[in-house]
Symmetry: D3
C-alpha cells in the first residue's frame, strides 16, 4: 500500500510574510499528508522584511491547533537537501496564477533533476486568495496600510 | 492521522487517446494515493476518435502491472458526482503549460463550489512529456503518421 | 466636459448562459455609464444552448431593478456596427484570466481598426467569479448538474 | 443618472519615465472621465532614474493642452488612500500583455479589498505601443541610446 | 559553411484566409532563406471558409513579385512529411501572443520527435499585426463586414 | 539569392552562467547561419556572479570544436549597436516559456524600432532544457549545490 509509512510534505518558501493563502494550502494538505513541514528558506543574500526568527514563532502560533502535525523550521541550503534531511519526498506548493505556474514549474523540474525521488504536489489557492501576494502585502505595510485582512489571525507583523 | 483510511484519487479525462504523459502522472500518483481510478468521461455530445470501450480495455492493459491499485472506469455525468460515488475526495490532474493551468483552475474551482470537500491535486508532467497532447496525437494518426512514441507501450489505437 | 451627453456602453456577448460574473460587471459599470446595453450577438453558424429569445427575456428580468438603465437587445452583424447604431462609443468587457485577456485584446484591437472612435473598457470580474465560465456551466447543465450557484437569482435556464 | 457629479480617475504609477503609451491611455480616458489625476507614487525604498520633481514638471508639460483636465501630483502612501483624498473612485490602468494583466489583477483585487468602492478601469495600449516599457527605456538611456521615439514629444529626460 | 546549399523553409498553415501578418512573415523570411514554400494543409475533417484551390491562386498572386522564391503548394498528411518531400529542414512560423506560443511550442516539439532534423524558426509578427487573426477575420466577413484592411492587397476572398 | 553573403547572427545575453540550453540554441543555429557571435552584454549597474572575463573564456572553451564559426565577445551599449558594428542583421534568441516570450517580444519589437533592418530569430529550447534557467542555477551554486548537470561540459564556474 502507498500509506505504509508517515507521509511528510515540505512547504518551502520565504513567507515574508506568511499569508492567509499559505495557511489555507497547509491546512488543506493535512488531509493528504501526515505531517507538513513549513520550511522557511534562509537566504543570506536577500534582506528580509520580517526577521526569520519572528517568522518562525509567528507561523508556529498559526498552527498551534494542528495537533503537532504542522512543524515550522528554518533551513539553509537547497530545498531538496532539506527534504532529504527531513525524509520527505513531497514538496507542497500553492498555485495562484499562470505566471506563478511557469516559475513553479521551472523550480520543480530543476528539483526533480537534482533529486529524482522528489515529487512536487500543487494545490490551488482558493479563489478569494488568488491575489494575496507577499510582495504586495510588504508594500502595503511599508506604506503604512493595514494588511491584517491578508494575514492569518494569529500572525502579527509587529 | 491523515492516513487512517484508503486514499483514492480520481483521474478524470476523455483520454482520446491516453498518452505517455497520462501514464506517468498516474504512476507517480500511486506513491501518494492507495488507489487511482482512471475515469473516462462519457460525453454524449462529442464524437470520440477511439471508442470508449476500447479506451477502457487499452488503459486497463497499461496498468496490468499495478497490483490492482489502478482501476479504469467509464462514467457519465459530473466528475464530482463520480468522485462521491467512488468515495474519493481527490481529483488528480497533470499540468503541462500555463494555458493548461488556467483551464484546469477554472474546472477545479467550479468543482470545489459544487463539492466543497473535493481537493484537486496537480502533478507536473515530466519535461519530455510537456508537448504530448491528445489532440495533436489524434491529428497525427488521422494524417497517417506514427504516434506510437507518444502512447504507452501496451496501448494500441488500432 | 466629458459628461455633456449620455454615455452608453455596449456589453456584447453570446451569454449562453448569462452568469453572475456578467451581472456583476454590468452593475458595476452603471456607476461609470448612464446606460448599459447588453447586446446578445446572433450568430447563425453556432447552435445556442439557451434560445436567444429566452436569453433576452431572462436577462431583462435580472435587471428589472435597474431603473431602465440596462437595456437588453439582440443584434446581428458586427459588434462595431451595433455600437454605431446605438450611438455608443464604449464596449464593456469583463476580464477574468490571462487567456481571456489575449483573446479580448485581439477582438478589441480589431474593432478599433474598423471603428477608430470605439474604446473597449475592461473591468475585472470579482475574485469569487474568476472561474465562472459559460461553457463550463453549459457542461454542468448538460450532465444533469445544478448550476444555479453560477447564475443570477432571476435567471432561469428552464 | 451616473454622471451627476464630477468623475475623476486616478492614473497611478512610477512613470520612470512617462511613455507615449501612458500618454495615450490618459488622453483616451479623458473621453470617459471629467478629470484624470496622474499620480506619481513616491516610493522611498526605490531609487528613481528621473527625479520625482522633474517627472512632475515634465508630465505637466505633456498635458498643457488638456484644458486643466489632467492634473499631475506626487503622492506618498497607498494608492487607495490617495484616491480617497482626491475623491476619486476610479483607478485607471493600461494593459499591454498577459504578464501585465496578471500583475494588475492582483493589485486591483487587493485595492478593492482595502477600499470596496474603488473600481479599476482598464484600457488597452494601442498595438504600436504594446512593447513600450519604462524599464526597457531606462536601459536604452543608460546604454547611451536614443529613446525619444518612446517618449511624449514634450517630455525630456535631460 | 552553413550556406553551401539551397535553404528552403516551409511555412505551413490553413491560411483561411491568408492575412497581412502571414505575408509579412514570409517576406521577412526571404532574407534568411533562399526559398519559402507556403504549404496549405489539406485537412479533410475541417470545412474551409475559402476553398483550398482559391486560397492557392490568391496566395500565388500575393507573391508574384517575389522572383519565384515563394512557392505555394497544397499538401496532405503530416507537415514533417511535406518538409521531407520538399527537402526542407526548416519550418517557419510567426508568433503573435503568449497563447500562440504555447500552442506552437507543442506542435514544434512534437514535429522534432517525429523528424529530429527539423528546426522550427519563429519570427515575430509586427506590432501592428499582433491582433490579426484568421478566425476573427472569417467572423467579420461572415457578419458582412469589410476585412480588406487585414488582407494582402492582392488577396481577394470573393 | 538570400545567401550571397556571410550570414551572422548575434546571440546576446548576460550568460551568468551560460547553460546547456544556451549551448543547444547556438549549435542548432549554426545550421542556418554562417557565424554566431555570442555577445556578453556588459551591464555596469548589475553585479555579475561569474566575472565577465571568465565568462568569455569559458564560453570560448565550449565552442572550441565549432571551427571558428562561434565567436564570443563582450559588448557595451545597446544590442542593436553591437549588431551594426558586427554587420549582423539577425538577433538569435531561445524561447522556453510563455513568460519568456512576452519579455522577448518587447525587447525584439523595441530593437526593431531602433534598427528597422534587424530581425530577431527565435529557436525553441529543447523540452529537456525548458526549465534550465540562469537565475535558478546561480541560486543552486550559492546554496552550495551541484549545478553541473545544467552547464556545458567544458564550462566551469570555479
Amino acid at each position: 500500500m502507498a500509506n505504509d509509512k508517515i507521509k511528510t510534505a515540505v512547504f518551502p518558501g520565504s513567507f515574508d510574510p506568511f499569508t492567509i493563502g499559505h495557511e489555507s494550502v497547509v491546512r488543506r494538505a493535512l488531509d493528504m499528508f501526515d505531517r507538513v513541514i513549513v520550511g522557511i528558506g534562509h537566504n543570506t543574500t536577500k534582506t528580509r522584511f520580517i526577521p526569520i526568527e519572528k517568522s518562525l514563532t509567528e507561523i508556529q502560533k498559526v498552527f498551534e491547533d494542528a495537533g503537532g502535525r504542522v512543524i515550522v523550521k528554518v533551513f539553509k541550503g537547497l530545498t531538496v537537501d532539506f527534504c532529504k534531511n527531513e525524509k520527505s519526498r513531497y514538496i507542497l506548493r500553492g498555485l495562484r496564477t499562470a505566471a506563478d505556474f511557469e516559475y513553479e514549474r521551472a523550480i520543480a523540474q530543476t528539483n526533480k533533476v537534482m533529486y529524482p525521488d522528489i515529487e512536487t504536489v500543487f494545490l490551488l489557492t482558493l479563489p478569494q486568495h488568488t491575489f494575496v501576494n507577499s510582495s504586495i502585502i510588504r508594500e502595503i505595510i511599508k506604506q503604512g496600510g493595514d494588511a491584517s485582512l491578508f494575514l492569518p489571525a494569529k500572525f502579527s507583523v509587529h
